[in-house]
Symmetry: D2
Subunit: 365 residues, 4 copies
């Protein structure tokens, strides 16, 4: 229990169910003096928001966040920041059909056994609805990191089902409804998603994230390494099944002479490491990938059991994303920003000057 | 700073450098009444120990662990357990050749910038030497989990460089020096490693780990999910670059109708999820994979810089494993056991009876 | 920073300023299955609420708490509980008179130097307004402790300025506006408070708290002792300046033959220890006392400085309690309940049955 | 469980029983670059050490601490510091006489019920033997605080049984075996202690502690206030029963016009607050008092029960301090230093310059 917080010095705690009155978060440890208003949070919330394209759930939430505390005269005060989003689109439909069944691939079964009393409406606490709060809190971290250190955190989908990006066009990512990295694949993607929708099926996705201009020295070995905390934060996103730093699983077949990033007076010659050496940021860009499983809410019939242990066949109706990985893009950015800011504050406590990586060092000649 | 602890209720804190006087750990929160002696820890320590085959470092450490506290009349008392291993094979050679250089791919560069004062002898704190303490602490967790709940945690190498296991023969894993899963590949492996040694190069590996008979209900969403904490613990092992739960990155190309594990009255029909649903154990076996990069300590010359920023070329001499992933096997088991026990205690605090998964439910028909 | 949480397994995190939009809290780790509604929280909130007598601040807040999550079908679900109280009586007066001054005895000076950007309206985050959230969260802990273990937590004022209670009449405490323990002193108290109000001065108070039927075994030495965590929680209440367990400072002049509580087959013969031995509950009643300083918001003129460092003389106008110790009574109960429940859950994680003290053992013959 | 750590960024974790092989600690989070050797720790250890006068226990321990890690080239490296003291004077006497009884006033009863398996030899983990590790860890914190910020932490006994100091002569405290503040009372004290020894009884004591030159801004409201964390750390010392900050319980009878510390351009006019306003250090000296109960190990016979619940009469033989409060003096200093350094690092993480209080502001004209 008590697992709804993340971070040590910059700590986010959240509450709220899919079909409850509201969702909210407390952001504790944001340094004082940062200019902050709701508008700073709304942009990322809108990117995550459902109902923005025909390939995300049709649920319509305004997702208007309110800052209830911690900001005075337009700037953070250093005290805890209360955030709230009211749930406006809770269709008061009858949920009795899913109250007594365990949808395959969902958290129904494990929540039932863990807690006994389970809010089954729309997935309750296990719904991705709570990730709106991660995005809101992450937007604060992103703003601080950028304003004070020039850190940029950005993510994209670089694989969706069988379709792989062959290039990363950062300027295109926010221009397409899939946050896809490669605009040459958009037609193919569009067709694939249409077909998928017809089938009533869903598909997985891979999200790539990069943080640039990260100061050297972030990470607290041997257990609270930067990469370990990133893995914790990213694997903790709904539907995440794998996390890779730098070359990730490709390292398995690499030789040491290939993998190690050589160094020159003007910087690293490569970035197989993904910006982390020995659990500590090296000043190179932090790079990571996250695998998202296909959502289990599909209309293809599946076998399951009910709470009495009897066999049933079910389809999951309702408004669901055929690919939850798409909307995960701003969530991934948020989690990375939260971890980076937390580690930046921890590192700074040590009284070492926080050294912003020189452009030379992060350059890859 | 203060990153040398892991766990909330079962918490392990460690200290020690590669070439210091000793390494040690404090295991805090082990429930009382568990029969425990040094012999329970030594088995796994011997599996991790260097010098046991020609394919691991030639450094010879007895790695004899002493239990300094927390055990009385042969049983744990519930108070903190002090563990100590003296470093016996610290060759007092001259380290001045690496004092002022940053070995490519090592933590030298990031430690230097983070801390300023860096113990460069044998990698200091960034050496995998500290993982002996993880193994010792993990052996305690493994024993408790097994004695009280019948949980088994076991790992193996299922890929080493280009060589992939095609089957998992658990009874063969501890019979070969590679902890390799597939005994049919041992000749091939042996030849590959010989060649690698001649080249002076190193290679990556993938470790697969499985925990069976895990009670349902472990994991504390939304941030302290079981899979998130496993990812944290596994990515925090030296040289780890990626962590997958269940099907991991394979999910990206899967459809929902394939990925979701259907349920029958006598159990789950598959285990794509890797035993975790919504961040909570489902009673299925927990399965995970970890990618380990090739060690950077190789005799193939590489470009780097020294602490004055000047270009140098260097080779890393000394006693090094050509594949650090091999010895990671008992470390992976240890980290999984530590996380599982911590979550078991957290879950039990909630006063829900800890339900051991029925054989039926963990069975895959 | 990030100091707005308390507890490990039962964890309360709060936000909100005196004159902000709302105050709120997240209660994380409440076990599932507890019947809970707003009505369970409102009783204690009403006891703490300002404006209930002429001796507390005239500020009028409905203090109506909303439960935003974590309860389903009338019972807790084990997920985080969001609590919210809107601030309804924020007089929009001009605060420019206190914006640039440091009121003596207040947190103005220390907040200014710590944070730079300080919400000076009504004390901002340093106002006791936030304690409403402690009371709401504590009411949940009290309900669980009582429902599942029969634990009772109750507090009273047993000294107010020079007036000391000579007896504790628990049935009288909630019958008088001072929560005073001894109804024989009420006339004297009433007169004292009238005089104080005329003087425009304030006064300190001592609150006594007792928890009965506390299971034996709560507390995690050597640092997270039960008494240490009680001291942390109680000293952390606004205006608290001292905390005593059992005989407290009277121990200094006691001899060992007097202080030690002898034991008989039917229980302890005395309770000088206050129910804690070696940092662990003994099954005797937990007893503690807390000293509250007089509020510094008085109309007696005082010397201070402004933010430019210039000498000023000031009086603190506004709606203030002449004795903040009075309204601290439900807050003290709340903090004790929060600590007890947190420790109960931590202890239960250890798999020892939680043993409820027998009536015999808590009896003092 | 898992209660053997204290601190967030500067964290101390300890292990060890009275009659075990060794006691030890891990100090995690000490900033790098601090000159440190065993000699820096030995001074305070010698002050705490038993056997130094006829009024402390006759147990003779060399208490020679070894630093096992975290120091390189004479300076801290920022990695975790392993500390070890071997127990040399574990008389291997027969403990069967106390194995089955609960000594009144001791932790025997509560440990037995909490853990089941209790190391009864010399009190096991509940013995004050573990405080040697607090002193060693605290010495590191003291050195850093003094070297980098000029902070001084010093304590003394200012009441022992009925004998109260009437002045604090800091230069006399370490010149007498009682660490007593007032050298005019030494003859009286000496006689009192002789009589007490003859009686076979023990007595309580009050320790006063002061930290000067503490930067303004330390403390993280609303729960991790500086005074709350001091209370936690001080109440967590063996035998502590009460903690006061500044005027403590005297506040109860004070009026606001007396208690509030007025401010002048050249500083505070008084220090009733004890250097903490709103949970944050004000730059004034931090002052606190701790009450220590009389040790329960006395030769005056007392009633108790055995583990079968039968009535017994017992006397506690062995080598025991008649007043444990005396040797608590360096422990109190250590705990205050640990808390101050932890908060200093937390505050510094916020990127506010740590402002050392000006002499003017800490002066009391």
């Amino acid at each position: 229990m008590a697992g709804n917080s993340i971070g040590t010095l910059f700590r986010v705690t959240s509450f709220g169910e899919s079909h409850g009155i509201a969702i909210g978060a407390i952001v504790d440890g944001c340094p004082p003096g940062l200019e902050l208003s709701e508008a700073d949070l709304q942009g990322d919330l809108d990117r995550r928001r459902p109902g923005t394209s025909r390939f995300t759930t049709a649920r319509r939430e305004a997702d208007e966040v309110k800052i209830l505390s911690g900001v005075f005269n337009g700037k953070t005060t250093g005290t805890s920041i209360g955030l709230l989003i009211e749930n406006t689109d809770q269709r008061s439909r009858d949920y009795s059909d899913i109250a007594e069944v365990f949808r395959p691939g969902h958290a129904d079964y494990s929540y039932h056994h863990k807690y006994g009393n389970r809010d089954y409406r729309g997935g309750g606490r296990s719904s991705a609805r709570e990730t709106a709060m991660r995005v809101a809190a992450g937007a604060i971290a992103k703003k601080y990191l950028h304003a004070k250190f020039g850190v940029e955190v950005r993510a994209c989908v670089d694989q969706l089902g069988p379709i792989c990006a062959e290039q990363i066009q950062w300027d295109q990512v926010n221009q397409n409804p899939f946050f896809f990295a490669d605009s040459d694949k958009l037609d193919q993607l569009d067709q694939y998603m249409r077909d998928l929708k017809k089938e009533g099926d869903s598909v997985g996705a891979k999200v790539f994230v990069e943080a640039t201009n990260v100061p050297v020295g972030l990470g607290e070995p041997v257990f609270d390494r930067l990469d370990a905390d990133l893995a914790h934060a990213l694997m903790g996103i709904n539907a995440a099944k794998a996390v890779a730093i730098g070359d990730g699983f490709d390292c398995v077949a690499q030789k040491g002479s290939v993998h190690r990033d050589e160094m020159h007076p003007n910087g690293f010659a490569s970035n197989h490491a993904g910006g982390v050496l020995g659990g500590i940021s090296s000043g190179q860009p932090i790079t990571a990938s996250v695998a998202f499983k296909p959502t289990s809410s599909i209309t293809v019939p599946g076998k399951s059991i009910n709470t009495s242990g009897e066999s049933i066949e079910m389809i999951t109706k309702g408004r669901h994303d055929p690919c939850v990985g798409i909307r995960a893009v701003p969530i991934v950015e948020a989690m990375v920003a939260i971890v980076l800011l937390d580690h930046l504050l921890r590192h700074r406590g040590q009284n070492h000057d926080v050294v912003v990586a020189t452009p030379e060092l992060s350059m890859q000649p």
